[in-house]
Amino acid sequence: MSTSSVRPSSVDAGVASSLSSRAKSIEPLPLRLLRLVPGLLLLAAVGFGGKVIEQSIARYGKAHHLTLPNIEYVLWAILIGLVLANTVGLPKIFVAGVATYDFWLKVGIVLLGSRFLLGDVLRLGGISLGLVAIEITLALALMHGLGRAFKLKPKLTSLLAVGSAVCGVSAIIATQGAIDADEEESSTAIAAILALGALSLFTFPLIAHSLHLSDHAYGLWAGLAVDNTAEATAAGALYSDVAGRFAVLVKTTRNAMIGFVVLGYALYWSSRGQAQRVGNKARFLWQKFPRFVLGFLLISLLASLAVFTKPQLTALGNLSRWAFLLTFAGVGLRTNIRELGKQGWRPLAIGALGEVAIAAITLALVFGADRLFHV
């Protein structure tokens, strides 16, 4: 790695982004936007590169009458990003733009609302809400049991539990502030969740194919078991378009629960005098509530009220795909394998143990739900 390049450390990026956003808030807006351009172009190039590879393989197979496996552009985009970030590193000029991948994820999810009728969202959301509640309860209990058994620091255990039960990095960052955990603990928890999320991208589709899971069942599983929203979306899209949509819906339901879980932890730690007291609980819940869930519901409502014509719905779906393309490129580009490994093996091993158990439990839940509700 050259000295002029910076490997995108997923570990301290949360901290770095809050620091850099403070520094950048002094800069004029046009300059801040200009800074994003190189990284955005890189996201587009990597994502589009994935699309080109996918189409080239399909064309080659057709021309030579070969049956080649149809590997979605999602995997290619992530792989290109991973290779770039972990070999040559990411030059500083691209860092700010690449960090916007999370923004595009949310834009994509809101626009994806156009591909769901509100009635379906409420029906499927209701089913997934029940499953999400079971998943969160079991995951929290399991991670706390493991944390105690392996003598992890209690606050680190809380962060790992929230990260694996609710929604990955966002939940960890929200909880860190609420329970006054230190940055090292949250970096370790984030590293463990991201490393396991990256692994799930490659393992989940393989397991699901070997079990012949339906698109709906797989989407449900990915949404329940994969922790970070970007990885859950990518894991779903790797299987099929329908699975991707379902994974997003279930993951969004899980994300909506973040406030309640974080509030629970904040109350617990403040009752022990180790975190600030929570004032207005309703205000706390609203502050932690992911706004993009409301955007998703609003677009779904507009689509259900036939505000959009069929071609317009297609265009919105396509815009959502473009936004996800940028996201998937960012998932690979921000994953730094060496940095993730530096955080120590114990949290990673405990996280891995917990994740394997959660994946198995949620798979059983999905099989049960598939039979009960014919999801």
Binding site: P8, S18, D102, K106, S170, I173, P290
Partner: protein
């Protein structure tokens, strides 16, 4: 990075506190951008996008 939630809550001191109160989170910007895109599609401005 991250699906950072509640980043609009960053506590700023002194004169920037007022500005911070009115600053939207990335989350809210994402919703606004998506709604703007939907409006542009509705107005047939973005309907030429092909996937």
């Amino acid at each position: 990075m991250s699906d950072e939630i509640g980043n609009s809550e960053t506590i700023e001191s002194g004169g920037t506190a007022h500005a911070a109160r009115w600053r939207l989170s990335l989350d809210s910007w994402a919703v606004l951008l998506a709604l703007a895109a939907a409006a542009l599609v509705k107005l047939h401005i973005l309907n030429t996008v092909k996937w």
